[in-house]
């Protein structure tokens, strides 16, 4: 089955470096791919979130590649890994262990393909880890997951607990509605990047993407 999934991913995607982390080559649905302009019902994949490099994911990966100390010799968990770029960046920056997590099997297959393209090996898990203690991890990556109201609530409550347990929480987000003003009071901006043109075209209305670190509650 993994083989079929991988074959389908290869068939419908193209190799891309046109993003904030050009040192990583990633299989994505790009403007050259027919699916880019497809309607939802024409896509062979249901919600192919992994096929696009979300601005929040780009920001966290960029930040990791520029700030090796954050992940070096530490255990990194990439929640909602999508195409796997955050995990790949952490592995490249010599994290001790990296686990890419996504409940979508297609995302994990894409992560394996992309890890392979970039010469790293990544463990993956399809378990829903949200709400768990994640005891073995020091750094948690959240690349662009504040796109849904209800989910944002669950996610943020959990992240606060992980933060209280001493973990570093990195959030990449271009300013989606789930990262509300109230929640923003608990995060500190580490970096801001201008989104590449292609990424802006995938995210109508957004031009910048940011990395935030969860801080102590006020």
């Amino acid at each position: 089955m993994l083989r079929d999934i991988s074959a389908a991913i290869i068939r419908h995607t193209a190799l891309s470096r046109r993003h904030l982390t050009p040192e990583l080559v990633l299989r994505l649905i790009t403007p050259e791919c027919p699916l880019w302009r497809a309607k939802e019902d024409e896509s062979p994949f249901r919600d192919p979130f992994w096929a696009f490099y979300w601005p929040g994911g780009q920001a966290t990966a960029r930040y990791i590649l520029d700030n090796q100390d954050l992940v070096k010799d530490r255990n990194v968990l990439d929640i909602g890994c999508g195409c796997g770029a955050g995990s790949i960046a952490a592995a490249k920056m010599k994290a001790k262990y990296v686990l890419a997590n996504d409940i979508d099997h297609y995302a994990l297959a894409a992560t394996h393909l992309n890890a392979n393209l970039n010469g790293v090996l990544i463990d993956t898990s399809s378990k829903n880890l949200i709400g768990t203690k994640c005891e073995e991890f020091n750094v948690i990556l959240i690349g662009d997951m504040f796109y849904d109201d209800d989910f944002s609530h669950t996610l943020f409550e959990w992240l606060i607990k992980l933060h209280e347990a001493g973990k570093t929480i990195l959030i990449g987000d271009p300013g989606r509605h789930g990262l509300t003003e109230k929640r923003r009071r608990h995060v500190q901006m580490l970096a801001e990047y201008k989104m590449p043109r292609e990424s802006q075209e995938e995210n109508n209305g957004f031009t910048k993407t940011k990395v935030w670190k969860l801080n102590k509650l006020i």
Binding site: I29, L35, W36, R37, A38, K39, E40, S43, D47, P48, F49, A51, F52, Y147, D148, D149, H177, Q200, E201, E202, N203, N204, G205, F206, T207
Partner: protein, 253 residues
């Protein structure tokens, strides 16, 4: 930074051949392809460009209609609107929904949402009323810039180029204001798959006209809807002399 409210209407697609109902009460809508009113697409595009240029902080799309209006709102969200409000109007009330009602709804929502700018299409391609922007401005007592083909923001004011008979007119208005988009304002973007996917998760709130305190009793009665007269066939004339003779005969020269 301002908040922009954009009105979007679900209409019969521009490419569909319109058929009048046999009882002349309206046109056939069942089983017919619908899409966003093209002038409203231009309005959405302009609002999203304002957001991208940091001239606007948030874009809210509003549509009045049955549940299918949500499809139109999703398109607006895919084009880049941040959130949507569906004002549910269905059945008989929808059949008699008129610009005055939509204007009252937009005016109320503009106040509730603290909007600084309302942008709508200059008219909908189904009823061609061309009234909503004007009425909304009147109800809010805000300045209006209708048939806009260019909108520029200059220190708290707007410079609007309007398409008028025989040329262009440039006006300046203060904000808040109501604008209507003409054809040449911009070329709306296509909603691509990555944007459609992300739009599914954007907030969409449903309210009723009653929630907003708007009375939907019709103010206009449609007496009859009829097909335009069938055009008479033309004829080919062999030479100029015959043409001149024919024109004289018809009393045209």
């Amino acid at each position: 930074m301002s908040r922009v409210l954009v009105g979007v209407k679900r209409v019969i697609d521009y490419a569909v051949k319109i058929r009048v109902k046999p009882d002349k009460s309206g046109v056939v809508t069942d089983g017919v392809k619908h899409s966003m009113n093209p002038f409203d697409e231009i309005a959405v595009e302009e609002a999203v460009r304002m957001k991208e240029k940091k001239l606007a902080s948030e874009v809210i799309a509003v549509s009045c209609g049955p549940s299918q209006a949500q499809e139109t709102l999703r398109t607006a969200l895919a084009m880049g609107a941040d959130r949507a409000i569906h004002v549910e109007v269905a059945g008989a009330e929808y059949d008699t929904l008129q610009p005055i009602h939509v204007a009252k709804i937009l005016a109320k929502l503009s106040q509730d949402e603290k909007a600084d700018l309302v942008i709508v299409g200059k008219q909908a391609i189904d009823d061609d009323s061309n009234q909503t922007a004007q009425m909304t401005a009147a109800l809010l007592d805000w300045p209006q810039g209708t048939f806009a083909s260019k909108i520029e923001k200059t220190d708290g004011a707007l410079t609007i180029t309007r398409e008028i008979d025989g040329g262009l007119e440039v006006i300046k208005t203060k904000i808040p204001a109501v604008l209507s988009a003409d054809l040449r304002l911009n070329e709306p973007r296509y909603a691509t798959l990555p944007n459609i996917m992300k739009a599914k998760k954007k907030p969409l709130k449903k309210v009723s006209a009653k929630d907003l305190g708007v009375d939907l009793a019709p103010r206009i009665k449609v007496v009859s809807v009829e097909d335009p007269p069938v055009r008479q066939a033309g004829s080919i004339i062999p030479d100029v002399d015959t043409l001149v003779a024919k024109l004289k005969e018809g009393g045209h020269v």
